[in-house]
């Protein structure tokens, strides 16, 4: 969400009511509010969560719920579940980058830490290395250690800006890759851990495509709603203020560094959940899961979808997974990166805000040809 959108979002509530009280001759401010896409209100209590629900939300949710029942198991699992898991990891980057102004390349590393810890504390094919604890102990431990790792990455990098943040986080990611590759006593070297499977719970085997899809959907939806909620809570509002003007925020009493590190911790939680899903999805984790190409893929997914709204991470993930899955049928595996690179380049060139940005521009063009659409916003006022 850009600063302008953020402003619009905040104006959506009380702002709309006070529209008439604005200064005369302040055209730009008023008109930009009228077409503001915002259904978000910064740190204003929403009368009820349901007030924010729009028709498009219902349609998308209904589609997601019905998807496994008309799609093949292959589509459900390979496309659906994988996109949701990757989207969750990309969402952690969108939160850091889009809302905190911090581009971390180590989010797949953080996810990978969770994956490795799950394999080490839980059960895997490597009986000598894995402790074999039940999933309900191993999962919380994995998330906790992953959050510690994410916080550490944040602590290392928050004092840097721009390209230096990218370099430091990339260095951490590469270091972890080599650690996994070369350490056999804990990480089992290049083999990693095979046969790390999702559990069976209440008679439901989450290894099967449809249950796993719903597990991934529940996690993704939870992560999405969590971020949407936190962005309007004091913490999220402050984070966006820090993104826009850290010096001023410091001079208002905010501990900028602590806030940024806390954002890394929260992002690590999302990445950890995504990382666990991804290990269950693949049934294994190896150094390649946290290799450089995956570090960059997370960035590609987030940018592809658009970092200005949390949904962009999932849009990007679906596109990425579709390309990955079907481009291989058309061209050989080596050329796949070329296709992804080409699509990425095209999107970044034509729309710095990713696919969401393209969509927003399209909508704007439609609404300017039909000006009455802007005068009658569909949204009901709370």
């Amino acid at each position: 969400m850009s600063a302008v959108q953020w402003r619009n979002a905040m104006n959506a509530g009380a702002g709309r009511a006070a529209l008439g009280k604005g200064l005369p001759g302040r055209g730009p401010g008023v008109s930009s509010r009228a077409k503001g896409a915002g259904d978000e209100i910064v740190e204003r209590q929403t009368p009820s969560m349901w007030a924010a629900v729009r028709a498009r939300h219902v349609v998308v949710l209904a589609f997601l719920l019905a998807f496994p029942f008309f799609a093949t198991p292959f589509l459900t699992y390979q496309i659906g579940a994988q996109s949701l898991a990757l989207g969750l990891i990309a969402l952690s980057l969108t939160f850091l980058g889009g809302y905190g102004g911090m581009i971390s390349l180590a989010q797949m590393t953080v996810a990978g830490v969770a994956g490795y810890m799950l394999a080490i504390f839980g059960a895997s094919g490597e009986a000598t290395l894995s402790l074999g604890w039940s999933w309900w102990i191993a999962v919380p431990i994995a998330i906790a250690i992953s959050m510690l790792a994410g916080t550490f990455v944040g602590w290392l990098s928050v004092r840097t800006e721009g390209i230096y943040t990218i370099m430091i986080t990339l260095a951490v990611g590469v270091a972890f890759y080599y650690l996994c590759l070369q350490n056999y006593s804990v990480f089992n070297g290049f083999q990693g851990f095979q046969r790390v499977y999702a559990p069976t719970l209440l008679g439901v085997n989450f290894r099967n495509p449809v249950p796993f899809y719903f597990l991934a959907l529940a996690c993704a939806l939870g992560g999405y709603l969590l971020i949407q909620y936190v962005l309007r809570a004091p913490f999220g509002v402050a984070l966006q203020g820090i993104r826009d003007n850290p010096r001023r925020m410091n001079a208002l009493g905010f501990h900028v560094t602590a806030h940024r590190i806390a954002a890394y911790a929260l992002a690590a939680f999302l990445a950890a959940v995504g990382g666990i899903l991804l290990v269950w999805y693949n049934g294994l984790i190896t150094p390649n899961s946290v290799g450089t190409s995956w570090l960059i893929n997370v960035l590609i997914i987030a940018v592809l979808g658009g970092m200005k709204h949390p949904i962009g991470a999932f849009v990007g993930a679906v596109i990425f997974v579709l390309l990955q899955t079907f481009a291989i049928d058309l061209i050989d595996r080596e050329r796949f990166n070329l296709v992804v690179g080409g699509v990425f380049l095209a999107i970044v060139l034509f729309s710095p805000d990713g696919l969401l940005g393209l969509w927003a521009r399209l909508r704007e063009r439609i609404s300017t040809t039909r000006p009455q659409a802007a005068l009658h916003p569909r949204r009901s006022k709370p």
Binding site: N11, G22, P28, R44, Y229, P234, V237, M249, L252, G253
Partner: protein, 263 residues
């Protein structure tokens, strides 16, 4: 007049100096922007810092707020040595400032700028939970909005405000929470005569326990609202005295005669 900031017992009990500078210096490489400045502001005291462009006034403020580290010297705030404290801790202790060129969230509304200012010195900065019911933070922001007379433009983005309104907002943000000492950096710069009168009224209406330091080129304003004046020149303190003494000082008159008009 709008409501005044609620007094807290701690402030009422505080006596002595609100601010005490002991030989404060700040250099940028070879440039000694501020050199050996010492003065104090009593609790409830009001001081003006005047001087030509580049005299080091803003740099002095930056050292007091912690934006710049002091090269040498100590800064005491209500007796506590805050020289090494990071800016946010000084702010939470009750120090506030305004900026010479407005430093605002230009894309946010006036209301939300004030809201962030209130939130910065309130509890719950890290809260992941949205406040339920009537938010005291929101209420405080509304109160500030009224005090700096910007209620009518509360929902305008800052970028759409006039220069004068942006200066008002700067002051509003400095009034958030329970300030004990405010540093005003040329609040009258670029204001119309009518806006200047409003500014003087606002400064005079500040609660008596609230100290401030005012950088101001317009002596008509500076000398009318303070009880002590410091004249700075090339980073050093040139003169120090009551407004009457400074006004009639030949050296000061000479410096200010040299100025083309009043900025």
């Amino acid at each position: 007049m709008a409501s005044v900031t609620e007094l807290q017992p701690r402030e009422l009990l505080t006596t002595g100096d609100a601010l005490r500078l002991e030989g404060v210096s700040r250099s940028f490489g070879a440039l000694r922007a501020v050199e050996d400045v010492s003065f104090s502001v009593a609790a409830g005291g009001r001081r003006a810092v005047i001087g030509a462009n580049g005299a080091g006034k803003t740099t002095l403020f930056n050292v007091i707020t912690g934006d710049f580290a002091a090269t040498s010297g100590r800064v005491r705030f209500f007796g506590e040595d805050i020289t090494e404290h990071p800016p946010h801790e000084r702010i939470r202790a009750g120090l506030r400032r305004t900026y010479q060129s407005s430093l605002l969230f230009r894309d946010l509304t006036v209301r939300d700028n004030l809201f962030l200012a209130v939130r910065g010195v309130a509890r719950g900065r890290f809260s992941l939970l949205r406040p339920g019911g009537a938010s005291t933070t929101r209420a405080a922001a509304e109160d500030l909005l009224e005090r700096v007379r910007l209620t009518a433009v509360g929902d305008e983005p800052v970028a759409a405000l006039s220069h004068g309104q942006q200066r008002q907002l700067e002051i509003g943000m400095a009034l958030a929470g329970a300030p004990r000492l405010i540093l005003f950096d040329e609040p009258a710069a670029g204001l119309s005569p009518a806006e200047r009168r409003e500014l003087v009224a606002l400064l005079r209406a500040l609660p008596a326990h609230m100290s401030f330091v005012l950088i101001e080129h317009d002596l008509e304003i500076a000398l009318r609202v303070v009880d002590r004046v410091t004249v700075m020149h090339n980073g050093r303190m040139l003169k120090e005295g009551t407004p009457g003494e400074i006004e009639n000082d030949p050296e000061v008159q000479q410096i200010y005669m040299g100025r083309t008009g009043r900025a």
